[in-house]
Each structure stands twice: as C-alpha cells, then as structure tokens.
Amino acid sequence: MRWPEKFSIRLQMIFRRGRAVERLDDELRFHLDRQIAENLKAGMSPEQARSAALRSFGNPALVRDQAHDTWAGLWLERAVRDLRYAVRQLRKSPAYSLTAVCMLALGLGAPAAMYTVVDRVLLRPLPYDHPNQLVKIQESGSKGPGGWGGPYLDLHQWADAARLLHQIAFYGSDNLKAVSYLQSNAGITHVTAPIISSNLWDTLGVQPVLGRGFKPGTDWGSVSAEDANSILISDAVWRTAYNSDPHILGKSVQLNGVFHTIIGVMPRGLTFPYAGALPPVPLIWRPVIITAAEKVRAHGLPSYEAVARLAPGVSLQAAQAELSGIQSRIAQQYLESWEREQVNSIVLQSYGDTLVKDDVRKSLLALLGASAVLWLIACVNVAGLMLARASSRQREIAVRGALGASRWQIVRQLLTEGLVLSVLASLAGLALAQLTLRLFAHALIMQFGIHERLTPSLSVLAALVGLTVLTALFSSLWPAIGAARTAIEPALRQGSSQSGAGRSQHRLRAVLVVAQIALSLTLLAACGLLLRTLYTLRHVPLGFRTDHIVVANMSIPGYKFAGRNMLTDLYQPLLDRAEHMPGVQSAALMTEVPLGKTFSMIYTFAADGNSATDARQRETKSQFRAVTPEMQQVFAFSMARGRFFNSSDTPNSPAVVVVNRAFVRSFTGQDDLGKIIGTPLVNYGKNRRAIVIGVLDDERQVSLAQQSQPEIEVCMPQITPDSGLYKATEGIAMDLAVRTSRNPSSFMPDLRQLLRAASPDLADSNLTTMDQIVEDSYGSQQLATRLLEIFGGCALLLCVSGIYGLLAYLVHQRTRELGLRMALGAQRGQIMALVLRQAGWMLVVGSACGLALAWFSSVLLRMFLYGVQPHDPWTMFAVTAVLLVCGLASAWIPARRAAAIDPMQALRTE
C-alpha cells in the first residue's frame, strides 16, 4: 500500500528532521569519499583526487539543499526557522519589542473588552428552538405601543384568528420586579415568580428536564385548576435552594405563605422572560389562572405580555399585516372611543430585538467603534516603528538578499516578526481587557444587567485571533515589502550609512503620524463632549438634597402580615428605631426614593367622557408614591405652594395628598397653583376623598436627563388596611432613607442590624447612598465617558510617542547636517525652531483632518449628550489645544537634543 508508507515517511520527516539532516550529510560525504578513493586508486594525487571528485559531483552545498528541498513538510520547517529567527531578533532589541508589544496590547485589548460585552449582550443566542421565529406582540394606537401585549380576551381572539402565527403564549409582566418568598432547605429564598400560560414552553420549544409543565385548562392558554398551586422551578433554584434534590417532584413548599407543589424543573440557562440578562434573583414560574371576570369586556382588565412563534416561512411583515387587520375588529369591542384609539393596531417585533433597548444597542456599537479607532491608531504607530526599524536593518537585509534570499523570503521573515509581536500583544491585551471588565463590573450590572463575571467566549477568542493576524498584516506588511524592495548593492557599499531612509520613507512616516493625530483627535473630541455632558448632569439642580443620606431598598414579605396593619406593626416601629439610632438626624419611609428605579407606580385617572378636560386627565400619568412626613427633613425639598405632610395627618384627620408643579400643568392645563389646593383627587377608602394641600417644586425624580414628571404623593400614616391604597402600596417594597452625619461604610452594618431586628427577611436588603443612586442614574453616560477617557488617554499617549519617535529618529539622522549648520553659524534657537516646525506642520495637518473626522463622528454620540451640541465649538477648540500642547511637548525633547549637538562631535560621526 502506498498510502500508509507515504504517510509514515512524512511523519518521520516531521519528527526526526534533525536526524534526517545529519544522515543526508553522511550520505553525501560517503559518496565523495568513495569517489576520492577511486580517484586515488586511479593514480591521482590527493589534491587532484579531491578536486576531480568535487568536479564530478557538483556543488555539495547546493546538492544538499536541493535534496533537502524535496522533503515533505518543508513549509513547516521554514516557518519554525523563521519563528526562531524572529524571536532572536526581537530579543536582541528589547526596547523596541516591548514598546511595540505595549502599544499593540492597548490596541487589541480595547476591542477585546468591548467585543466581549457586545457578544454577551447583543449576540448571545437564545436558548429556544429557532429563536428567530419568535416574536413579541404589542397593542398599539394613537399614542404608540402601550408597552404590554393585551388582555386575555384580545389574546384569545388573536390565537383563534391568526393563521400566520403558529402559536401564541402569554405571561404576566407586573410581577417581574416583585420578590416572592420561597421556602427552601435553608430557610427563605427570594425568587421572582412570573405567571405563565400553559402553552408557553411549547411555543418556545423547550421542555422541563424533570417532571412536566402545567396542564392546560379548558380555556385556551389557561392552566387547569388542578395545577392552580403548582410551580415550576429553574435549575438555579433547584441547585441552590434544594441542593439538586432528586426527589424534588411533588414536594410541597410555601410560597408567600401559601403551600405550592413543585411539579417540574426547567433546563439550566433558561431564564424566561429575562433572557437578555440574568435576573438578580432566581426564577420560578407560576400558572396563570384566568378568572371569569377576565372573559368579559370591561375597564381595567389585567394585561399580559404576548410572545408568539411565526408559522414556518412566514415573514414578520406578513404576520403584522394580518394581526393589524384582526386587531381593528377587536378594537371595536372596547367600550370607550378613547380606549379604541389606543388599541387599534399591532406592533410586531422579533423577540430577540426586544431584549435590548435600542439606545443600549447603539451605545454599545458606538463604543465598539471607538475601540476600533484605538486599534487603528496603535497599528499605525507600530507600523511607523517597524518602518524605522527596517531602515536601520538595511545592511542586514541586503546581506541576506545577496546570499540568495528571495524577496518573498525576506517579507515572510519580517511578517513573522510582526506576527510574534501581535501574538504577544494579544495575550497582554486579553489580560488588559479582563482587568477593564472587572473595573467596570458595577457599571455592567447597572447598565446591562450582567451579574456574572464576564469571560471571553469562544467567538470572542476566535475574533481576537483574526484581529491579531490582521494587526500583524496591517502593521508589518508595508514595512516588510519596503525593506525587501531596497536595492542590495548600495546598502552593501563600504561608505554608506548603516541605516538611513530616503525622503519617501520620511514622508511616509510623517503621513502615518498625521493619521494618528487625526484619529486621536476624534476620540478626544468624543471624550471631551461626554465629559461636558457629565459635568452638566452632575450640576443639574435636582430640587432636593442627596448628601449624607443612606438608603435601604427593602422587599417586604407582605404575606407574613396578612390580616395585620403593617403600618403599626412594621413600619412605624422601624421608623422610630431608625430615628433613635446614634448619628441619625432624620429618617423617612417611602415606596421609592427619587431616582430609585426600584418600585415605581403610575397612577392614571379613569375619566370617562370625551371633553377636553377628561382627555387631559386621562392622559396624565403620574408618578405615585406613599411617603411619611419626615421625607421633607431627609431630602430638604421646598414646597411651591401650601404645605407638606406633618404629624397632624393621622388616620382620623382629613385625608390629604401632595402633588407637584408638573402635575398641575398636566392635569389642569394651566400653571395656576392656587386653584389646585383644596381640590379632591384620590380616594383613600370609602368616603375618604383626599384633597390637595400642597404643591411640590419640580424635581428630577425619574431621571436626571428627563424633565420633572407629574407626581402624586400620599401620606403613609393615613393609609388604613381597609383602603384600596393599602394593597397597592404596602407589602411589596419600601425604601428607608436616613439622613446621618456618620460615614456610610460604618453606618451601614448598624442599619442592617436594625433591619434584621425588625424582620429577618429585611436583612438582605440592598444598602446604598443617595449619592450613589444619583451616580447610577446617569450610569450609561458615566460608563461611556470612563471608557472614552481610557481610549482617549491611550490614543493621546500613542500619538505623543509616535511624534517623539519620529522626531528623535529624524534628529539622529540629521545629526551631521545640524552640526554643520551650527558650525556655519546657526543659533541654538534656530535649530530648535527647525525641529519644532517639523512637528508643528504634522500637528496642524493632523488636527485639521481630525476635526473634520470628529465633525462627522460626533453625530453618532447624540444619544449620550445632554446639555451640549455634538458640534460644540468650545469643546473642539479645547481638545485641539490639548493635543497641540502635548504634541509640541513631545517634540520638545528631541528639539532640545538637536540644539545641544556639539558641532565638532557631529561632524566626526558617520
């Protein structure tokens, strides 16, 4: 068989290369010795015999090489040889190698870090069957998408009528942030427990790994009554709360105090509906029970989120068109005309697209672009370095060419050096990227919901390998080709300079430096704009104080207080104890602190009627908070009119509410604050209509960048268990805000003790400060600014080193000429000016190009900016000034060195 023999010969060739080379030498030597012996026998003298033998043999070295060249695996041998040589060359000049590796590490680390985040947030495949067929359905109308799917009645009609949708399932969206309390082996575990329809798993194409899903009931999508108290748990809950108990099925556990049966465990990694990011607490799923009331058209039906699977081969647009047609019929069933207007069409989106907000996606891509710019700058810089190095190795390359190396071999050698540098740099860059991600862990949690430690996935590593190769090509190909093309003879001539480059090479390097300056200016301009945005955001007048306030975000186990009055049993004692803690000036409870984003409630007025007043009242969506009177002492806000709650407001005194200016404007359409005082607004309970007693000055309570939203605040001490407000506001979440002069880090453990004493479930509450909450609220700008600061700083550093490198090299090259000039009478100042002028023209041209680039690219930043235009001239001016100053400073040292040249020394050097 030829095949195995050939293969074994090949293998031998690869692994026993050195031995084979020795043997080849032996073989040739044997031949020569035999021939010499025969020649001697024929009577020649030893020298004649030898020379005759060599003549008839040919050139032994050439023969050896030719024989060697026939061996298999030659490419590998050459590559290894190139590699060894490259490493040796790089070791000989450690300064150059280290500089190049550092620069490339910066250039490769930034994209590595950004791509890891992009891969995790935007590109993660969903763990469902054919996820690109999944869509999210939203009812929409004159005001745009409502933000949810629709009530059960509408969903059922969609499922019946839509042909282009294979299946529709739904789930409850209200309780995604609320915490439920699950009894586990180790006590109580906090979980999130969304309610889901019976066909959700079929629609998604997943199955439980243990047990079964919910049994379908008689109504479409609902769960059978026998599964009313069943729950499905996630793999995370099964592992952490129940220690992967194999007999978990059928176990009866308490959820919020009510007994439920575990009927199944879902696969690992399934976190529906959180599929974009991990939820902060583990998930379980509860069945949706459709009540009789939901099957009759009325006001205020509960809404569900709808997810559906497209029929095979159906496009999104076709399904949307069909559903819109169906929806226009459904909208007619609504009772009020204004209701119909809000639900008369459908918005259909691919499910994957809905998981990441649009501006988050855009910001991530913008940051990825910025990191790519940094990569480009690093490559350009290193290319300049390599050009310099190649020109100083001219003689060595010329010698190699004279000895027979082809152009391709020389280029290959230089490319291998570039590749070695790139590989080392990518390893360093990967380490840098990991470090950066760890530094920004908090921002990653807040902005993207990434709770786990980010490590680069396989696709990131593959992309990094590709980028490394591209870097090597990009930075070393041009210098390599240039070096290989230089003429051999002039370089070998005795009197020629060891190194030196023609004017074209100087110009090339100068062009590279100009390109670097332009790109750096782009990044710096973006950085400058964002810094200004941050400054403006930091100085937005909030309308309330945020210093020295410690906040505890508590999840309240409402089920434990069923039948009791939480205000008297839990909240009042907690508040009293907090106020009496040492170092505390005042303490208050509220459902959510301003800017809190933990538990926001929206109050809408149900005004039936078609007058303008009714329409206006309906459209006023107010932030709703239940607060204690002490809030005014803690936050020190001011009233525009009337008074805030105080101790005289009790369950027995007249019910009162407080609103803010924005509410007045939205609700009444006028700015007259006096008229609203005394108008009845909210019901505390039967026959207890609250009147407005005060108007707050506007404050930024939702987001710093957003104008003040309408707000209604109710007085917590006045809420009694029989009022409708009690169920809505108490027993879910509460924030405790404490104004204290003590250092937060020493105060927080004491506060936690206090919470634990009040109720053991409160011990895990998140403790933070008001200042931190404010910082987190402009988190996306903060993250972008920090990253761009890093990118911009690195770019500036690279730029400065590029200018310095080029000028130092030029001064070194022109030492003789400058010495001559000084000998002929030039002043030191004139020499310095000469060098600085060279730097100057590069900086000016680079800045001009950079400003043009920045003009176009800063438009991409628009979504981040606040209070500053993308083309703000002051920022551009300041940034350019910084770059020019740094550039000139970097040129100063070579200029000084040039001016310090001793003419006699200079004329003597080569």
Binding site: H31, P60, V63, R64, D69
Partner: protein
C-alpha cells in the same frame, strides 16, 4: 551557463542518437539550478531501472549508470541525490542504512513494489517519446 567538462565524444559513440541528445541535456542543465522536467523524468527512469537489478547506494548507482551506458552518461553525480530523495518521498524506492563493502555505513536504496509499476510506466513513456522524436528526426 555551460559547464566546462564535456568529455571527448568518440566517433563510434555517435551511433546512439537518442543517448547523444540526452548527454547534452544532462551536461548542460545539471551545472546549476533545477533540472528541467524532461531530464527529471529520464533521471528517475535511469535510477529505477538501475535499482531494479539490485539494491545499492548512491555512489554505486552513479557508477552503474556510467557503466551500463558505456561511459556516455556522465551524470553530474550530485544531481542524483535530489532525485533519490524525491523518489523516496514519493514511495517508489525505499532506503536502509547498512554496512557497505568498505565497512562504512551507507544508505542503500531498493525498489518497492509500487516502484516496479512506476518503472514500467516510465519505460513505456520513454519509448513513446523517443519514437516520436525519432520520427521527426528521421523525417528531416
């Protein structure tokens, strides 16, 4: 580049026209650089044929070729070795290190079974080629 050792061509040796042409090819092109395809093929044929008789080392092959061609083919001996190594890589011949007649270790080549088949193929090709050249040369 002409090599400067063209051995004297006696009159009675010109009676073998095809070997004469080969002789010039061999001498001219084996000084420096790679042999042309034509020469490569015929060199392979010569080596395979020589080895079909018995296994021998490189020097012996050169001597034998010289002998068998009655001193016409002065193959530049060094050119044998790239050919030998190539043939070995291709699997037509196999090599073994053994003691030679002088007592030193030498690399002995021998023909493989596949090599025998290749020899027949090459011989057939050569016969076809040379008869084609004969036709053209005889014409003129």
């Amino acid at each position: 580049m002409k090599s400067n050792h063209i051995p004297e061509i006696e009159e009675d040796q010109i009676s073998t026209p095809y070997l004469d042409g080969l002789h010039i090819f061999v001498v001219d092109n084996l000084g420096m650089g790679k042999p042309s395809d034509l020469v490569q093929g015929t060199l392979d044929l010569l080596i395979l044929k020589t080895l079909s008789l018995e296994a021998m080392h490189g020097w012996a092959i050169a001597k034998r070729i010289q002998q068998l061609s009655r001193e016409v083919l002065q193959v530049q001996q060094g050119s044998l070795y790239p050919a030998l190594h190539r043939l070995e890589q291709q699997g037509w011949i196999k090599a073994k290190w053994a003691e030679s007649e002088t007592g030193r270790q030498a690399k002995f080549y021998s023909l493989t079974a596949a090599g025998r088949g290749q020899l027949q193929k090459e011989a057939a090709n050569w016969a076809r080629l040379s008869s084609a050249i004969d036709l053209i040369v005889a014409e003129a």
